[in-house]
């Protein structure tokens, strides 16, 4: 075994890596490729630009951060999260920041508040800083006051780095006097601050410390499955499905419509029934008419009988007088005329409101008269002249009346005359408000419906009114006074007696 080891030693492999020549033997050697550098870096004695491990070459701008390592040797992965910020800003990015810590005892020093002095110091610092801010803000808003007295006269001793006889005329140090520049109190603000500019980018977002989302089980995923919506009326593209291709299309429009024949039978039966009913009604009406006529005839007969009896009676009474025909004729004529006069009187007594034909015609409008054909009943043979043609004063006097405006001379006669003026005076009838209140206005007026059963205490129920103006009882007793005056006319002195009476009355009243 040992010999084999020795042999393996002798036949050891030679490394194929090209090593740079050792120090001292590098006279004309230039490293050109990565392998020339071997394990190490650049050679400073060879004055050629060298890029071992490709370090140092000018790269295109990339936003890749260089890998940084912290004090313990671990790579700082939160350099990405801390890119634009202060290195001591508190940023939580590690998994360990999310894990709950152990439960500490209540009086563990870690959980205690900082002591009083530290807190007070912090308070003071904060307060002063805030005061400064507030005073700045207020001062900006306050009106102009006298110029601030800034009286520092700071002196600075400065030792310049470039020294020699030429600089600073040989002196080693300079003394500089620093004075704050005076601010003009009346100066308006120097810069416009009303410009609106877009907000700058916010600070980089903090890493989100959420626990990783829980694994979704198949069952839960199935629970959230929503079946796709398939419409009965629109297809997938949104077009309306024609009626014959719809899901509910079960061949409705393709069949011929069969109507039951009983409908026709029903209609016919109805017609027949209608006709029959009409016939029956007609027959009934006729029968009734006949009956009515018979009744009427009977009544007329009866009346004729009565009239005849009455005539006979009257004739019978008068039969004693002259039996001459002439006398009889004259009697008949007198009788007739008397009857007519009686008849007229009866009529006028019976129906006073019924206007006579004449009166009716007089009240008609002229257009109605024309329509009825009555305004000009008589057409005389002779030529008729328009009366307006006669008795006219034409020419200058034709209505011009010499320039007088006040005169009204369009018409010379009244239109209808004053014959029916009396008729047109308003005479209130009993049923004047029939269309408003109905027939029984009086009952309405006297109704007691709106008087309460129990009235409010203290409410005065005034006297019920009978007419539009209700005169109240004379408060001053004037009527009574006048009556008394009339009564005790000359005997006594009405005024004094009245007055004394009144005074007595009043005195009595006052005493009481």
């Amino acid at each position: 075994i040992l010999s084999r080891l020795q042999r393996s030693q002798s036949t050891a492999l030679v490394s194929t890596r090209r090593e740079p020549p050792p120090y001292g033997f590098r006279k004309s050697w230039v490293p050109r490729s990565l392998e020339d550098f071997g394990d190490g870096g650049a050679f400073p004695e060879i004055h050629v630009a060298q890029f071992p491990l490709e370090m140092g070459r000018k790269k295109r701008t990339s936003n890749a951060l260089a890998v940084q390592v912290d004090a313990e040797g671990k790579i700082k992965y939160d350099a990405i999260a801390r890119q634009g910020q202060n290195k001591d800003k508190v940023i939580f990015s590690k998994y360990t920041d999310m894990l709950p810590k152990e439960v500490l005892n209540e009086d563990d020093p870690e959980l205690q508040k900082p002591d009083e002095e530290a807190v007070q110091e912090l308070t003071e610092k904060t307060r002063s800083a805030l005061e400064k801010q507030v005073s700045q803000k207020i001062a900006a808003a306050m009106p102009v006051r006298a110029a601030d007295k800034l009286a520092p006269a700071q002196y600075i001793r400065y030792t310049p780095s470039q020294q020699g006889l030429a600089f600073n005329s040989g002196a080693k140090q300079r003394v500089i006097r620093m004075v704050e520049m005076q601010k003009d109190p009346m100066e308006p603000p120097r810069f416009k601050i009303n410009k609106k500019i877009p907000r700058g980018p916010p600070s980089p977002p903090a890493p989100v410390m959420h626990s990783p989302s829980r694994k979704m089980t198949v069952k839960e995923q199935q629970e959230w499955k929503i079946p796709p919506c398939i419409s009965n009326w629109k297809n997938a593209k949104g077009y309306t499905i024609p009626l014959d291709k719809r899901l509910a299309a079960d061949g409705r429009g393709l069949q011929t419509v069969h109507i039951n024949e009983n409908f026709a039978k029903l209609a016919e039966a109805l017609y027949i029934a209608d006709r029959k009913a009409r016939e029956a009604v007609e027959m009934r009406a006729q029968v009734e008419k006949k009956m009515a006529q018979k009744e009427k005839e009977k009544k007329e007969e009866k009346l004729r009988e009565l009239a005849k009896m009455a005539r006979d009676r009257r004739a019978g009474i008068k039969a004693h007088g002259g039996e001459d025909t002439e006398v009889r004729e004259r009697d008949e004529i007198r009788h007739d005329r008397r009857k007519e006069r009686q008849h007229d009187r009866n009529i006028s007594r019976a129906a006073p409101d019924k206007r006579s034909k004449l009166q009716r015609d007089q009240d008609r409008d002229i257009s109605e008269l024309i329509a009825l054909g009555q305004p000009n009943p008589r057409t005389s043979s002779e030529a008729q002249y328009d009366q307006r043609l006669f008795n006219q004063n034409k020419g200058m006097d034709s209505g011009f009346a010499g320039g007088e405006d006040e005169m009204y001379n369009v018409y010379d006669q009244p239109f209808r005359g004053g014959r029916d003026m009396a008729q047109n005076i308003y005479r209130p009838t009993k049923s004047a408000d029939k269309d408003m209140y109905g027939d029984d206005l009086d009952t309405l007026m006297q109704s007691n419906r709106f008087v309460p059963d129990r009235e409010f205490s203290g409410a005065d129920h005034g006297p019920r009114r009978d007419g539009p103006v209700q005169f109240e009882e004379d408060p001053f007793g004037l009527d009574k006074f006048l009556e008394e005056a009339k009564q005790h006319g000359g005997s006594k002195r009405a005024s004094t007696s009245g007055r004394s009476k009144d005074y007595d009355h009043e005195k009595k009243r006052r005493k009481e």
Binding site: P114, L122, K137, S211
Partner: protein, 462 residues
């Protein structure tokens, strides 16, 4: 043949598996990260065989100088071995890291390059020193003892006076009402806002009351005259919350226009405009230590601000949904933020994440914390969860009934605050009432035991 004296208690498979897991876990919890201890002899034999088999041809070659320096530490192997416990080194420290050699050649080996602390394994509840689960402190449960109605709209905000005599509420009926704390009776009603009053705060340093509303107005009321004396003009949209700095005379308001503004109280000047959020800023808190201003926003981030410069100190992006509530712990240097996915606890001043309080799966509108370590979260659906601050154990859930006449859906909590004695919790609700809760004195540890079952199984990777 054995006769069993007792019947074996039947358990479900799940229980049995869990129990065995738990036993294993408890046994190995403190040293499961450590590798199995190696037997010296077997190790030597293995190394000798390996060297002979793989590296025989080069065994004769000289050892590198760098290797020699590490020689005394790694006695027999020039390559180092991960996980082998170094003799004399603390058992807590293990040699790990990306690779055993230093990152670059020629870099001197120092203590930092050689040994690295192993990062914590999964759970922060398992400290290496003390492998016990932290037990939550017992808190008595809270019960409702008074309902105050009087507002005609949602009650949106509450603040308690420093002398603990009265408290102020702002409401959607545009009024601010002052109520007596002891009796619950209305003392005063202030009008002046033209829209919902979203935030109220009482100053501890001067007799002022500050209110802000959805009408972009921020008002300063003088409580001696009950009149508005100052307006702070500048917000471009509804102002959702405000807070006063405890030591400096400065007011911070936050608004729907994605900014928070810092106002000097006396001069009404807008000192800083804290911009950076990209959505409504829902809540703001001020304290005298760093960070002086903390804001939570609907863009799911929390920003810690530097008040002097007016710039963001740190941005916390852990939440997945809008952050509507923030609260600072009165004693500790920590704060908590609430969002519908989780309530998270953070450490000041840099905002290091401490732990999650999960379980209240509702939109959390408000948080409040007690000196005893009781954290209250009030949600938009009317539920209140009470948590132990230190461990995150939810010890009580309350859903108070709405006042008679209201719909059941009108239950929601908009604001809650402890009074100055921290014994009463006052909540502002959506059924137009103010509810006051106090601790139940009759409850004891036995009657309301602590059911602390931290989730061991769930410590798996997502």
């Amino acid at each position: 043949m054995f006769v069993l004296l007792q019947d074996v208690q039947k358990h479900s498979v799940h229980t049995l598996v869990f129990r065995s897991l738990k036993r294993t876990h408890d046994m190995f919890v403190s040293d499961h990260a450590k590798a199995v201890a190696l037997d010296d002899q077997s190790y030597k034999m293995k190394m000798a065989v390996k060297m002979r088999a793989e590296y025989k041809p080069v065994l004769h070659m000289p050892v590198l100088k760098e290797g020699r320096e590490r020689g005394p530490l790694h006695a027999s192997d020039p390559y180092g071995q991960l996980g082998y416990p170094l003799p004399g080194a603390l058992p807590d420290y293990l040699v790990t890291g990306t690779h055993p050699y230093p990152s670059a050649p020629g870099v001197a080996l120092t203590a930092e390059t050689q040994m690295q602390k192993m990062p914590f394994l999964n759970s922060g509840l398992l400290p290496r020193k003390a492998p016990t689960m932290p037990k939550p402190q017992w808190h008595p449960p809270w019960k409702l003892y008074r309902v105050i109605s009087g507002h005609l709209g949602w009650v949106r905000s509450i603040a308690v006076e420093p002398g603990n005599q009265w408290f102020v509420t702002g409401s959607a009926d545009r009024t601010i009402k002052i109520w007596d704390l002891a009796s619950g009776k209305l003392k005063l009603s202030l009008t002046g806002h033209i829209s919902t009053v979203r935030g109220v705060a009482v100053s501890t340093r001067s007799p002022y009351l500050f209110s802000c509303g959805e009408d972009k107005q921020v008002k300063c009321w003088d409580l001696e005259y009950n009149k508005v004396i100052r307006h702070y003009h500048g917000h471009l949209s509804a102002v959702y919350d405000l807070d006063l700095h405890p030591t400096i005379d400065v007011l911070v308001t936050c608004s729907r226009d994605a900014t928070a503004r810092v106002w000097d109280i006396r001069s009404k000047a807008n000192v800083h405009t804290l911009s950076g959020h990209t959505n409504t800023v829902a809540t703001v808190k001020c304290q005298s230590a760093e960070p002086q201003v903390v804001t939570g926003s609907h863009d799911t981030t929390i920003r810690l601000w530097d008040l002097v410069a007016g710039k963001t100190r740190a941005t916390l992006t852990n939440h997945k949904k809008s952050v509507r509530a923030l609260v600072l712990h009165p004693r500790q240097y920590t704060f908590a933020s609430g969002s519908p996915d989780n309530i998270k606890q953070w450490k000041c001043p840099d905002g290091n994440f401490i732990q999650n309080l999960s379980g209240h799966n509702a939109i959390i509108n408000t948080l409040a914390v007690n000196s005893d370590g009781v954290l209250v979260s009030g949600a938009d659906n009317g539920t209140i969860h009470m948590w132990d601050w230190r461990t995150g154990y939810n010890f009580q859930r309350i859903h108070a009934a709405v006042q008679p006449g209201s719909l059941d859906s009108e239950s929601g909590i908009f604001a809650c605050v402890f009074d100055q004695s921290e014994s009463r919790l006052i909540t502002a609700e959506a059924d137009k009432t103010i509810k006051v809760y106090k601790e139940d004195d009759t409850a004891t540890e036995e009657s309301h035991p602590v059911n602390w079952k931290p989730e061991i199984l769930k410590r798996k990777r997502f």
